[in-house]
Symmetry: C2
Subunit: 438 residues, 2 copies
């Protein structure tokens, strides 16, 4: 686990003024990675680092030869169209680049002039997928979500017996993961009819979102060579926001016995910036189990994981309906939760995933599963907030929602904040449901 | 659907003598694609085409400039380390390359001398993955398998109500797909214990294979743009053999509610050669439903799919235990089935998979699901042959098997054969279970 170092110093200030906004997402202590180009240009995508309202263009940094040693190697790797090569280099290299960036972007840096020539305003950027995602795995790590969903299907027995032992997950679809701002048509498919009748077919009538944290794997492992719980943290590159859009009617009819499929694979939206685990070091939290729950099997246990396996990240969902947008109203909050409530840590997910010998590749991606907290108002999906569509929400403008309507945009936001530490923001993951195609 | 043309003429003979063996897998009418290099060399992988006991090196064909037009474009695409680019070019280009290869390899071809310089003996080859598989989807298209498995879990209600309506499938793990000949350690994981006790942990004790047909997607589709049943055949590049190894104890404990995960993702073995749908044109079969079963929803229906959506491919499983190998005995057949018994066609799988807007990319891969036939002896997995391990098989050498032991190799073979048409072989998919790692 990364310890605190000079890059976390809350007193650091950048010569980029917008990075010194105490309420901004991207101060000099954050330095998240993404892939971008100038919008509308024929430029190649390349790696970039967010700072204030600017992006440090890693290809430009490489070309200008600003960094030395490991940091220079990392800037070269980060110049590619995706960050997979950088992700595969491991924590020593990631840290070297972070430290070099921190020094070059600080007030008083003698690299200011060279670095200023490598900046692109975020307002001019178009984002790409930060990595080629070889495999996407979606976990189910909120016991509150699993219980809320389970109650809808099995009121007397909401939680299956394996839940407290296994970080439950399933293979997801990687081709349909898109970056924030990519809108998509409402999916079409089969849905259950009353018994004895053929299933219905058409556009989904129960469109939902799922608030998740995305986890990017860094260095991989060979097939047959598990990653242990003690090694796992070094294999995690960073976190982002993930909206695992779900068509509940399609999902309910198709998912037995082999799990969710077309109810998910029409679109999954990620935020463009990956917050490194090093940037999140000040916000690691203890991981505990309620005393009356079983403790994990030894391969999922470590002192370090208990001490600081969790992440204190606040997670917010907002809705912007077409009426709000047309009327100039701000998006409205639907929920506020925190990643610290996860029943399993990211390290446990990775360890469990490879215990059978499954191989990870740099850029592989996990979803945490819908992050619902213990309290009302922290549920990370409409199906929970509306009790399966039975209790519609009334929005501030009087509109009602059981599930999402065409033109509804969902915006996920995340941030870390506490006294004595810099605010670390995640930016946002935004997507809009378009009408179904005919 | 490809119609018969001069490349299918059963009377064609090649100047490569081994291709004219009536019992061989790779006559001039087959021409399957794979990726290879000389074993032990530092060569790059590149595309190749099997003919008799030789491989046509597509990079060499390209360098020598033997072909013109679309076929030359295809040979260039086929020179890459994987066949994804060739797969993305579509059926007109695939056909042009097939015709050019057929003409150049025929007895009397004036390209014989140039082509002879492009051959590599299969005995000297090492195979790579024929494609980078972006996403792997495993279907469940044998109703006999679904019923046999369902009976083990739900004796009175083996088939779930969605089975006859939906080509059931789930997202699989692509990183752990390996090419024939790749052995792997027995996976480790959690398994169910008697109620009230913690789960067990250790090497799987119920290791199984699954006999499947693999389907490679050719040209892809944009997110949100379904592939219709009338378009689907043109998006399928070809078929191979797939062993979807399964750890039944890990699978049984983990799979609810989100489906199979670590019980599968330790290894899945494919055969090195992809048999194109054009090569299989003489072996297309009518697709029918039993009269007392519901007929599919309109989006999964077409006259062409009814007339010839199926494939008549014989599918064989053999076991070679360590004792057989050490004693010089031949592998023993465990089952013989046929892909024609699939309840859903490949075109229906692709159409269903994209009806929600899910995007395919060239080289995406489907498993058919375990192909068990209606009769005894055609079950494609040990769990079916041994009734969940309750009725062990006695092999010819006296060894018993409920599930696989360390050192057991499983060999899948496939072939098409009938009077008046050339034999089209699939080669084999072979893998061995090694002892679990400590």
């Amino acid at each position: 686990m990364t310890s605190l170092n000079e890059t976390h110093d809350p007193n650091l200030r950048s010569w980029i003024a917008s990075a010194n906004d105490a309420n901004g997402d991207f101060p000099i202590q954050n330095l998240p990675f993404g892939a971008f180009k100038r919008a509308g240009s024929n430029e190649a995508l390349r790696g970039g680092v967010a700072i204030g309202d600017q992006i440090v263009d890693l290809a430009a940094v490489h070309s200008a030869g600003i960094f030395d040693g490991l940091a220079a190697d990392a800037a070269l790797a980060g110049s590619q169209t995706t960050l997979n090569a950088l992700m595969g280099m491991g924590p020593a290299t990631w840290s070297a680049l972070r430290l070099a960036l921190s020094k070059a972007l600080r007030e008083g840096s003698d690299q200011q002039q060279a670095m200023a020539a490598c900046l692109v305003p975020q307002s001019e950027a178009q984002y790409g997928m930060p990595a080629h995602i070889g495999d996407y795995t979606d976990f189910y790590a909120s016991i509150h979500h699993a219980t809320n969903i389970g109650k809808l299907f099995r009121p007397n027995n909401p939680l299956l017996p394996n839940y407290q032992w296994i970080p439950i997950g399933y293979h997801g679809r990687s081709s349909s993961i898109v970056v924030s701002g990519t809108d998509f048509p409402r999916p079409v498919g089969q849905r259950r009819s009353p018994e004895g009748q053929p299933p219905g077919f058409g556009a989904s009538t129960r469109m939902d979102y799922e608030l998740e944290v995305g986890i990017f794997v860094g260095g991989g492992n060979e097939l047959g060579q598990p990653i242990t719980i003690d090694q796992a943290e070094d294999h995690i590159f960073g976190l982002c926001l993930l909206n695992d859009w779900s068509a509940r009617d399609i999902q309910a009819w198709e998912y037995q016995p082999l799990g969710p499929f077309l109810g998910k694979s029409f679109a999954s939206t990620i935020s463009p910036w990956i917050i490194t685990t090093e940037a999140l070091a000040p916000y690691r939290t203890a991981w505990t189990r309620p005393e009356d729950h079983p403790q994990p099997l030894p391969y999922l246990e470590s002192e370090a994981n208990r001490a600081s396996g969790g992440f204190d990240v606040q997670l917010e969902v907002l809705i912007e309906t077409a009426q709000m947008r047309d009327g100039g109203q701000s998006p409205q909050r639907l929920s506020l939760g925190n990643f610290r409530h996860a029943y399993w840590t990211a390290a446990q997910m990775l360890t469990h995933h490879t215990v059978n010998g499954c191989n990870m590749r740099p850029g592989d991606f996990f979803g945490s599963g819908t992050m619902s907290g213990p309290e009302d108002g922290s549920q990370g999906a409409l199906i929970e907030l509306t009790r399966g569509g039975k209790e519609p929400l009334t929005l501030d403008n009087g509109q009602e929602r059981k599930f999402l309507e065409d033109g509804d945009a969902i915006i996920l936001r995340g941030w870390c904040q506490k006294d004595g530490a810099p605010r670390i923001g995640f930016g946002e993951a935004r997507g809009m449901v378009l009408p179904a195609r005919n």
